[in-house]
Every structure is written in C-alpha cells, then in structure tokens.
C-alpha cells in the first residue's frame, strides 16, 4: 500500500511537472471552452429569460465537454514523446497507481476548465448565481468530472497504439460520455427546480454508478493495457 501511494505521488508530480513545462496542454482546453462559452453567450444575448433558464446548463456543459475531450486526448503526450511507456514495463510498478495519478491530473485539468467557465457563466447568465448553491450541485459536478476523467484516461490509454488516434478518440469518447452528461444535466435541472430533491437524487445515484463503473474498469484494466503496449 505504501509503495502504491508512493508511485501514485511520483507519477502525479512528474505529470504535473511535464505539463507545466508544456503549458499549451493546460491553456488550449481552457481557451477552447472560454471561446465557445463566449460565442454561445453572445448568440443567446437577446433570448428570453425563460428560454435561457432552460438552456444555460447546456451552454455551460457543451464547451466543457469539448474542452475536456481535448485535455484527455493529450494526457499521455509527455510519456509518448519521451517513449516512457515501453520502459515502464521493465519496472516493478503498480500500473493502477499510474492510472490513479493520471486520473487526478485529469480531474485537475477538468477543474481548471470548469471553474473559469462557471465564473464566466455567472457573468453571461446573471441568474446562474442564484441556482449554483448547495452540496448537491457540487456533488453532481464532482461525480460527472470524475466519471469523464476516468473514461478519458482509459480511452486515451486504449487508443495509444491506434492509427488515426486524434480522429478515433472523439469517436470513442463522445458516445460513452453522453450518458454521463445526460445524468448530470438532469440531476442539476432537478436540484435547481423546486421540490425535486428526490428526482435529482435518483439521477445522482445513476451518475454515481457510472463513476464506479468507469473508475473500476480503468483501475483494474489499465495495467493490462500498459503491459500490452
């Protein structure tokens, strides 16, 4: 257990160091999300408030989803560039610790994209501030980010040896991400409404199931993937 945590910490810090050298890996997804959100905000500036109250969540989710896809696709870029993955096989390390480190890095990048987008969303849609409150909203956000991160890291590892990876990754990622997004959106819509706590909790439980499924599959199978590569 001690070795496992130590390996996780080493991989996490190494990945962080790599990505802060190549700042483009952090900045590109953020700029993409902010640009898309601004465009959506400008396009919907003249819409009725009733319509905006229904679509603002979709406006927030869409740029974040695309930006996260870009971030996850590049999560192993450092290791590929240095051809580290083949070398790692000769070391007696826990590959699950590698997955966990990448998962935390992915969550961190997701947070770096989501929080500025929420801030910008509060400026573009002023009523959002009143709706973003409470434990349930942040729990939904956390679970959806966790699910998408686990999925993104696993799919990124899956496609390491594939030709046309930049085209293949979004094709694999989006169909699997849509159920997570559907659950998150429905949960948040329920929590921001009145007397819908029970409905929102049902969606939250389903979202939790997806988090468990993707996280467990990633944790257990990542080692097999790395050994195969």
């Amino acid at each position: 257990m001690h070795d496992f945590l130590r390996h996780t910490k080493i991989f996490f810090l190494q990945g962080l160091k790599e990505d802060f050298i190549e700042k483009d890996r952090i900045i590109s997804p953020l700029m993409l999300a902010v640009t898309m959100l601004l465009l959506l905000g400008i396009a919907s500036a003249t819409w009725d408030k009733e319509v905006l109250e229904k679509v603002y969540l979709a406006h927030l989710f869409l740029p974040v989803l695309f930006a996260l896809q870009v971030a996850f696709h590049r999560i192993f870029e450092g290791e590929q560039k240095d051809q580290v993955i083949g070398v790692l096989r000769s070391y007696s390390i826990h590959f699950s610790s590698f997955f966990l480190a990448k998962f935390f890095l992915a969550c961190m990048y997701g947070g770096l994209v989501i929080f500025p987008c929420i801030g910008l969303g509060c400026l573009l849609y002023p009523f959002v501030l009143m709706k973003i409150e409470g434990l349930y909203f942040w729990l939904t956000l956390g679970l959806s980010l966790g699910s998408l991160s686990a999925l993104g890291v696993l799919l990124s590892a899956l496609t390491l040896g594939a030709s046309g990876r930049s085209v293949l990754f979004p094709i694999l990622y989006f169909p699997l991400a849509i159920p997570v997004v559907l659950c998150s959106l429905n949960a948040m819509l329920a929590f921001s409404g009145e007397n819908s706590l029970e409905v929102g909790c049902d969606w939250l439980i389903l979202l939790g199931c997806f988090f468990v499924i993707f996280g467990t599959l990633g944790f257990l199978l990542f080692g097999e993937l790395m050994k195969a590569h």
């Binding site: 094709i171 159920p179 199978l221």
Partner: protein
Amino acid sequence: MKELIIGSILFALQIAVWVWSFFFVTTEVTQGDVYRIMYVHVPCAFSAFFASILLFFFSLGSLKNPNSHTHLLAKGAAEVGCLFTVLTLVTGSIWGRPTWGTWWTWDARLTTTLILALLYTSYLLLFAAMPHGTLRSKVCAIFGLLICADIPLIYKSVTWWRTLHQPPSLMTQNGNSAMSAEIYQQLCLAIVVTIGLSVWLIFYRFKNMKLKEELLHLSFEGNRL
C-alpha cells in the same frame, strides 16, 4: 455444410414468421395495420441487446485469453449488434411516422439507442485501426465492456424519462403483458427466431474471420520461408 443448413432453416423460419405477422395475425385496435412493423422492430431491438450481452461475455473471455480467437467472436457480436441496432432505428422511424407524426425525435429511448449504434460503430472502427495482435484483442475487449454499461440505460429509459416511446408492454411492472394473447405469442415467437438468427450470424461471421486469419497467418509464414 451443417451451418448453411441451420442458417437456411433460420432464414426460412424468419420469413415465415414475418409473413404470418403481416398477413394473418389479428389487427390491433388502436393503430390498425401499422402496428405490424412491431414484429420486425421489437425482435431487432431484443437481438441488438442480446448481441451486447454476448459482446460482454466474449470480451471477458478475450481479456482472460487474448491469444484465443474469442476476440473474433466479440467482433462478430459487435457487427451483428450494429446491424440490428440500425434496423431497430430504421423500423422505429418508419413506425413513428404514422403514429407520432415524425420520423425522428430526441426522445430518451431513441437517443440512447442511437448512442448504442454509435458505440458499436466505434468498436468496429477501433478494431480496424489497431494492428493485429494481442494488444488489439485486449483493447477491443475493454471497449466492449464499456459498451455494455450503456445497455441498462437504454432499457430503463422508457421508465426513467417521460417519453414518446411506449412503456414496456411485453411485461409490465406487475408481471402481466399489455397485449392480447395472440399478439403476445406471435411477438415472442418473432423475438426467439430473430435472436436465433442473430446468434447464427455471429457464429458464421466468426468462422469466416477465423478462416481469414488463418489464411493470413499461412501466407505470412509462406512469405517468410
């Protein structure tokens, strides 16, 4: 030869079931003759789900033993599953036009079934993009397991969301069917025959792919010598 005979029998049964469904079964009271497409649509949907269950088990087998040919069975299941999912969407669209007044709507069941079709297609693309070997077997097996996480969502979508698609009528929550006995029996027969046909298609496709791999292996060995 044996497989061809079994396949011919299954195809003949399928055609017989369709002919009986379209021309001889009682007309439904509310929808009239339009409802008869149900005998194609519902069995195709069940076959698509069944193919995903087979994909799950073949993927597990392929992970356990990547050097076996189980990954070809999984690929066969994905191909047949994709075919039946597309047929489900097409027949559903044809049925929806006269009953709902539209070819397509972003309804829960339709959207989640479309996602399943996209997932099957993604699986086949992934299989084609990977180089031949144990890596491909493992990678596709893992993706196959991920696909199966979507199936409960599709099946339960009509009960979890308020949707245009009708709720479960083959077996409702109290265990009874919402259909008349004659329609129910005919539908069950159509489902069984279509699932049987899909299983035969999977295994026949597996046999073809296995032969192709063996030929490839032999030609590689011949070139090497």
